[in-house]
């Protein structure tokens, strides 16, 4: 561990003191379930007063977004200071006060492409968790081929009128505003007629419908736009150059998902199977074929975990291919599906209980079904393999 410089050391003590004085004890307990997560927004119901107070205090200090510029409400910290803050928060067990698409996706895009006025209008409410955002990208006819999107924004002089539909919009029914890709020039070639716009979900003409998955309830929604008014000043980046903003965001999203193949706290499969199914006289799983499948899975899982470690080490050393995140996303999602297939095999008939006293509302089966989406969302496995082929292996073709 690198020792702090004097300035960093001072920052560390000050941060620690502030956290100790301001982080309520309820917010020092680990996040155990979805219910403990704070998303903020106009509709948000705080779990308890402590959650509200914690968000307010961190938001005021800009420490929900430690490295964003002070000018827009951010913490104005350097990367090193932000690392120190994260360490001190971890040491005290402080929860992250806010989960937010605004922080992860829109904010970085605004910082890069937005006007000063847009940053002033939208960043501070993100910082304080007052406005919750959703992402309007995919459409029923524009998934992998996102650039073929058809949601239309017609120029009406001082504003646009938007008509169309989005799908897979996470938390659209809970969100306050949306960042949305719309077609502003239908005559232009595919990628070049798209704009990145922002508007209020409370606007007339906006409606949402939740999507039930094979695994049950999900945050996903269909979102419908029926003559929705969008202000011209709410176009981010250049008109008809929204694809650049979208691409920038997608890199962030893929890296976010890429690390999800390795869930911390995931029980070792082999030992779980031994517990659930029993072992023979030699201490081996009673089912030799399942045993072999689990053993091979654990080899691949170990190799993947080490590959993620190596990718980070290489990045720190200025090595590695930028498109390698596609390899991690592809392999991590396929590994997750394999894990859950093996969990279902191991769980046998008990894992099939969808409604029963001990079935936990079908938790095993639901988790297994949900993982089937991992290789589809955030860029399908097939798309990731295309990216690897084109950008890393330089194989020819469109």
């Amino acid at each position: 561990m690198v020792t702090d410089t004097e300035a960093l050391s001072t920052f560390r003590s000050e941060a620690r003191a502030w956290l100790e004085a301001n982080c309520p004890p309820e917010m020092r307990k680990p996040i155990l379930s979805e219910d403990d997560i704070c998303w903020g927004g106009r509709q948000w119901q705080f779990q308890c007063e402590a959650q509200r107070v914690w968000l307010q205090r961190m938001g005021e200090r800009g420490w929900t977004v430690p490295t964003w510029p002070r000018e827009y409400g951010g913490g104005g910290l350097s990367a090193d200071e932000a690392k120190v803050l994260a360490q001190e928060m971890r040491a005290l067990g402080c929860r992250v006060p806010l989960q937010s698409f605004g922080i992860w996706m829109l904010g970085p895009a605004l910082l890069k492409f937005g006007t000063h006025e847009q940053k002033l209008e939208f960043l501070p409410p993100i910082v304080r968790g007052e406005i919750r955002w959703c992402q309007g990208y995919s459409e029923p006819n524009a998934g992998s081929d996102l650039a073929s999107l058809q949601t239309r924004a017609e120029d009406r002089g001082d504003h646009f009128i938007v008509n169309g539909q989005k799908i897979w919009t996470s938390y659209a029914d809970q969100a306050d505003w949306i960042f949305c890709l719309v077609r502003t020039d239908p005559a232009a070639k595919k990628h070049t007629g798209i704009s990145f716009v922002l508007f209020d979900m409370a606007n007339a003409g906006v409606s949402t419908k939740p999507i039930l998955l094979i695994s049950g309830k999900s945050p996903f929604c269909e979102t419908f736009f029926d003559d929705v008014r969008v202000e011209k000043k709410h176009v981010v980046g250049t008109l008809n150059a929204g694809w650049d903003v979208a691409k920038y965001l997608l890199t962030h999203e893929r890296e976010m998902i890429g690390g999800m193949g390795d869930r911390h706290g995931a029980k070792p499969l082999g030992q779980l199977a031994a517990q659930q199914l029993g072992v023979d006289a030699l201490g081996r799983l009673a089912d030799p074929i399942l045993r072999a499948q689990i053993a091979q899975f654990e080899v691949d899982e170990a190799a993947f975990r080490i590959t993620m470690e190596r990718t980070m080490d290489m990045a720190k050393a200025g090595q590695g291919h930028p498109a390698f995140s596609s390899a991690l996303k592809y392999y991590g999602s396929e590994l997750n599906k394999r894990r859950h297939e093996l969990l279902m095999q191991t769980g046998g008939t008990q894992a099939l209980e969808w409604e029963s006293e001990r079935g936990q509302a079908g938790a095993s089966a639901r988790a297994w079904l949900r993982t089937k989406g991992n290789s589809i969302e955030g860029g399908t496995t097939e798309v990731q393999l295309n990216v690897i082929a084109k950008r890393i292996l330089n194989l020819p073709g469109a």
Partner: protein
């Protein structure tokens, strides 16, 4: 320890690559085979190899080696894999030398290690007894008499057996097949009475031997380590050999892959470059990821061995298993994607396929190591 090479390690890799490309390219393997070279390797190359210092990478400086580690050895082994270079180094300077370093007395080390480092002596482990590598099943018997120990039984798949001057033989002084206690390592010289060496030419042109031990007497001083306690030293030697084989497999896979991707970019059929076909692109991408994952886990295991980490043995098993399955896929795809040409002897890819198959069986294949990991995790 970060999973990246140091500058010195990268330089060693580059120099090994340049040396082997010049002195031991794939064409040399073909020439060794076609000329039916009696030693199974080129003596001139072996001299140059030892002059470069590679032979002594894992041997302490006090005994004429370079005193480096498994990461360094792995850089050279990977290049050996890429070029299909043939030498007794894996058997001698890596595996047998490690047994001596870990288990030998000062006198035993002084007697053998300098000559192994200089290339003058080729030493090799004699452990396998059946088709599959199962060291705990050691059944060759060593009985104590007034003359010393009497070895009786057969060993197989002894790498470089034909040219070896020293065999390190795993034999049982107590217990039964399946026990890891009761195994003793013996230093057996070539001229021992009752030792018969049957030379085998393997599918990849490399040489191995079957040993027949017919009442072979070895002095008590020829015990390597403690009587009945040879398992730990044996495992250390095997792990050194396994991770080296894994590095060589990685090189075999990488080269087979690189040549295949090159071919996909050149070959025209149906009025286009075949590399445009998505089905082929996806197969190449899948293989690319497998190779990168193998690379990461081989480096991790090498570093763990160098650090003396408690996880090292398990990581070696992950690495050997992964390298085996990846190389198997790489050479399979290599031949397939080269079409009819890939099936010709004239084309080099067949050699990569043969070497991968042999290396899988060296010191435990993917199935063996997956089973080892499962046993350690108690399922």
């Amino acid at each position: 320890m970060a999973l990246v090479l140091t500058e010195e390690q990268s330089m060693l890799r580059d120099s090994a690559r340049a040396f082997l490309a010049d002195h031991a390219p794939v064409a040399q393997l073909r020439a060794l085979r076609d000329s039916r070279n009696p030693d199974g390797f080129s003596r001139p190359l072996w001299s140059q190899f030892t002059e470069m210092g590679y032979t002594g990478i894992l041997i302490p400086e006090a005994h004429g080696g370079l005193g480096l580690g498994h990461v360094e050895a792995g850089q050279v082994m990977e290049e050996i894999g890429r070029h299909l270079s043939v030498s007794p180094w894996l058997a001698s300077g890596i595996t047998a030398a490690t047994a001596l370093v870990r288990g030998g007395t000062t006198a035993q080390q002084a007697e053998y290690l300098p000559r192994i480092a200089s290339g003058e002596l080729i030493a090799t482990l004699a452990v396998d007894e059946t088709r599959k590598h199962l060291p705990a099943q050691t059944a060759v018997r060593a009985t104590l008499t007034s003359d010393g120990y009497v070895l009786e039984g057969q060993k197989t798949f002894v790498l470089e057996g034909e040219v070896a001057g020293l065999f390190i033989v795993a034999a049982r002084t107590a217990g039964q097949a399946g026990d890891t206690t009761g195994i003793t390592l013996f230093l057996l010289e070539r001229d021992a009475v009752g030792l018969q060496v049957e030379d085998l030419v393997l599918a990849d042109t490399h040489r191995a031997a079957r040993l027949n031990l017919d009442q072979v007497v070895v002095a008590k001083g020829a015990v390597l380590g403690e009587v009945g306690q040879g398992w730990a030293v044996l495992q250390a030697a095997l792990d050194a050999g396994r991770i080296a084989a894994a590095a060589e497999l990685l090189g075999v896979a990488q080269e087979a892959f690189d040549r295949t991707v090159g071919y996909l970019k050149e070959r025209r059929q149906f009025e286009r470059i075949i590399g445009e076909f998505q089905a082929l692109q996806h197969r190449a991408s899948v293989l690319y990821v497998e190779i990168e994952m193998t690379r990461a886990v081989v480096l991790k295991a090498q570093q763990a061995l160098d650090e003396g980490s408690a996880q090292a043995s398990a990581l070696v098993s992950v690495a050997k298993a992964k390298a085996g399955t990846t190389a198997t896929l790489a050479v399979q795809e290599g031949v397939q994607l080269h079409g009819g040409m890939g099936m010709t002897d004239e084309f080099d890819l067949g050699f990569f396929m043969k070497r991968a198959r042999v290396l899988q069986e060296v010191f435990g294949d993917a199935a063996f190591h997956a089973d080892q990991l499962a046993q350690q995790k108690r399922y």
